[in-house]
Symmetry: C2
Subunit: 481 residues, 2 copies
């Protein structure tokens, strides 16, 4: 399988697909008749380039290319994955899907971003119905992992499996929806809430801002990490889910929603909502709002990653597939990463504590390299840092690519000493240095002890290699900044 993706139909969704594929190492071909497509997609890609790599504490794959095509057949020919994101009109989708199938390989996956149509509807009259699956993503496509994957009854099994594999490889979570249904799963909830929200605004009960606050200061936080049922399971307490349902069940009969009815979509209602939304958010441009949203999502996803929970766990698992083993060189390149938004302090640069974290990550990379990895730690031994001296030589800004070069300056029994130099990837400027002294410990006694033989040998081998290759750096005076 090649790593070529064709994106048919641009806009915010198509642009998000293009960005995610390209940043995950795929070459992307875009077909979109909109004369502004290149500019619009370029803006989405710029946002994605800034935010997506911040989710990962591992180096990203080499970026793929993005090319723009005026000929649909040229764009899709030979692509392993094709994603259709044209407007939500069935006859248009049929026309575009037919043109795609006329030019693409029968082995390609054809995913549709449709929010509402069932796969059987998309497959009507297709040359190869089984090749077409619903692959419904969520905006911003480059940050949110969910994609609802609905194969439908006529799906080609190998193509469906291929779709799952490809989506996982680009960091998404394909949610296999077995039974096809209008609007799949998530949009049914969004539709229900949207309808209720329109009523609340229409009836003057709440403004758009009050509704947003009612969500983001309350149940939105619960849902972001547990969803609906697990949240209620916890709420049910010791008595469990059954008890919760018995309590909540009867409310269903109460007149708590207006959902049986559809509000009239009048100009007045549109004006009311657009006006309230302006009052709430009009002081920020869409670009500023997107930046704010992306920063919040990155920070929250990284927070969940730290807990190894919910969507953070997905990113952690994906990251594990991206980690490259260290190469035995002098110096070792122990960290390659981008500075994420949650590392910045009141001075607008990377907080000094995060330098310590980078050097901690660097020593963890060395530990993994010598066999003191997660399994070794789980079995009862580790290295603890006893002392660090860090010199801060230049400011490090959010979004910058950095790397750490590490030299083993001592590897003797339970003692391990590392010299780290953190550099800006773009120009090699040294940002900070760190002299770090670690001790091997038993996690049972929490006291120092010699490492197990394999680790000891690996450390001593590295120390010899590094002693032979360099003098060992002298401590530096802080530069006058």
């Amino acid at each position: 399988m090649n790593k070529i993706a064709a994106i048919v139909g641009g806009g915010v969704i198509g642009g998000g697909w293009a960005a995610r594929f390209a940043l995950m190492g795929w070459d992307v071909r875009v077909f979109d008749p909109d004369p502004e497509a290149q500019r619009k997609i370029g803006e989405v890609v710029a946002g994605a380039e800034r935010a997506l790599p911040m989710l990962y504490d591992a180096p990203m794959p080499a970026r793929g290319t993005i090319s723009f095509h005026t000929d649909l057949a040229e764009a899709v020919a030979g692509a392993a994955y094709i994603q259709e994101s044209v407007p939500e009109r069935l006859e248009l989708k049929h026309k575009v899907l037919a043109a795609i199938q006329a030019a693409c390989s029968p082995e390609s996956v054809i995913g549709s971003s449709t929010s509402g149509f069932k796969p059987s509807e998309l497959q009507q009259g297709a040359a190869r119905p089984g090749q077409i699956v619903v692959a419904h993503p969520f905006n911003p496509v480059y940050l949110l992992p969910l994609v609802e994957l609905v194969p439908g009854d006529d799906a080609d099994e190998p193509i469906f499996e291929q779709a799952c594999d490809i989506l996982r490889a680009i960091g998404m979570y394909p949610l296999h929806v077995q039974a096809e249904i209008d609007a799949h799963i998530a949009d049914r909830f969004l539709e229900a809430v949207w309808r209720e929200a329109l009523w609340l605004v229409n009836d003057g009960i709440a403004t758009t801002e009050q509704i947003d606050n009612a969500i983001r200061y309350g149940f939105g936080l619960r849902w972001a990490q547990m969803g609906l049922f697990e949240t209620y399971r916890v709420a049910g307490g010791e008595a469990g889910m059954r008890h919760f349902m018995e309590q909540f069940g009867p409310c269903l009969k109460w007149p708590w929603t207006k959902l049986m009815d559809v509000p009239e979509f009048t100009d007045e209602l549109v004006d009311l909502i657009a006006g309230q939304s302006d009052a709430q958010s009009g002081h920020m441009s869409i670009r500023q709002l997107e930046r704010l949203r992306d920063n919040n999502l990155v920070a929250m996803l990284r927070a969940l990653k730290g807990q190894e929970a919910a969507a953070g766990k997905l990113i952690l698992d994906h990251e594990a597939t991206m980690q490259q083993p260290l190469v035995d060189e002098v110096p070792l390149i122990t960290v390659r990463r981008k500075v994420p938004v949650d590392w910045v302090d009141v001075n607008g640069h990377m907080n000094e504590g995060r330098y310590g974290q980078v050097f901690s990550d660097a020593s963890e990379a060395v530990m993994t390299h010598v066999g003191a990895d997660r399994a070794y730690i789980a079995a009862g031994h580790s290295y603890f840092t006893a002392e660090t001296s860090i010199k801060y030589l230049a400011e490090t800004l959010v979004g910058e690519d950095i790397l750490v070069e590490t030299r083993v300056t001592l590897g003797d029994g339970k003692k391990l000493r590392l010299w780290h130099e953190m550099k800006r990837a773009a120009d090699g400027e040294m940002l900070a240095s760190c002299d770090q002294f670690l001790l091997h410990v038993s996690l049972a006694t929490r006291r120092s002890c010699p490492p197990l033989a394999d680790v000891r040998d690996a450390v001593e081998r590295l120390a010899r290699l590094h002693a032979g290759a360099s003098e060992g750096p002298a401590p530096r005076a802080p530069r006058d900044i």
Copy 2:
């Protein structure tokens, strides 16, 4: 106004109220006829004691007491705030509210945790209707800031204002719902989604786990930080909210939800959902799930706090009211805090980078104390750290209370040198020390320069004070851990 809160009715909600009030420095009196009330509330309070202080990077107020009462009149007499959280039956609420009003001060706030009843319903037949407001919180009450505050038409204005002030003072966000309506605002959305979810499970479209994943890997993350309308405003892109509504509007007429209809609440449906929930989460106890939920919420709220956004901004604003100015003593106590869940690494203890962050916070406290505060930074000057040497002397565990003692060892022109000792609050054991060298900088040139006169004088005064009071500590050798 005294700081006494009466909690009438325990359980998960009443317990959450009790915990939040007590941890924010109020004395709490609980009335709950359940013989298990003390145990149940104790468990909620234990969870809150662990998690709530982790939201704050400032010392918490001195904890209030929690007492249990078998006499309702004794519990409510003289309390400034009374919260009713008894089961959702109107005649029971009327009875309890009448008993409360017979014993409490007419100036007290009486809040009701009701999910569904309107204030006018609760106020029916009351001695002083205007004293009763709906104050509807969200579980876990000790972490989620939202409380829907519905005064109703008969509300007493000073009591409503008092309710707002008190709820803000304990870190909550009182959302003023002007027009009363069944189920207020948030529960209308929860009800709509719950109903739709029951249909999806009932019809075999999705399992409880698939539904949770459809929420937490997708729109749940969006809602946690922006809510509904601002999310769609961004989705509308440059064309704005009006454009988005024109796109989404017509879908309302499509058959995307089953909400016009209520699913029959049969034993089969209850069994189906309880069984799926067991399959999804049954490997964890409710206590484990609560712990997981609280850890996730703390980490996400702290992430939003770092971005000064959404619910994180609320916590930041609340924290500002909790900060105490430094006292001019030797040593300065520059940090008092609890170690939050997001500071722990693979070894199960505080990551070495977070030690650096604590010492960075300690130096920021010194800066604020000498007048190099946020306003000074905004005006173009700051201190940057040039060098730190940290010795890690003992492990620091999640949830531990720590403090930092700081001595100014040099304050001369643009140079500032600090000696920090981080200690465990419980026993004073030294956990780490840090020798930190900072330089005063111009934020325009990003180069060092002398501080402005007021800051220079304050630094020199502190340095003289500390030189007179202590020898200045000698560097220490790393302890053999």
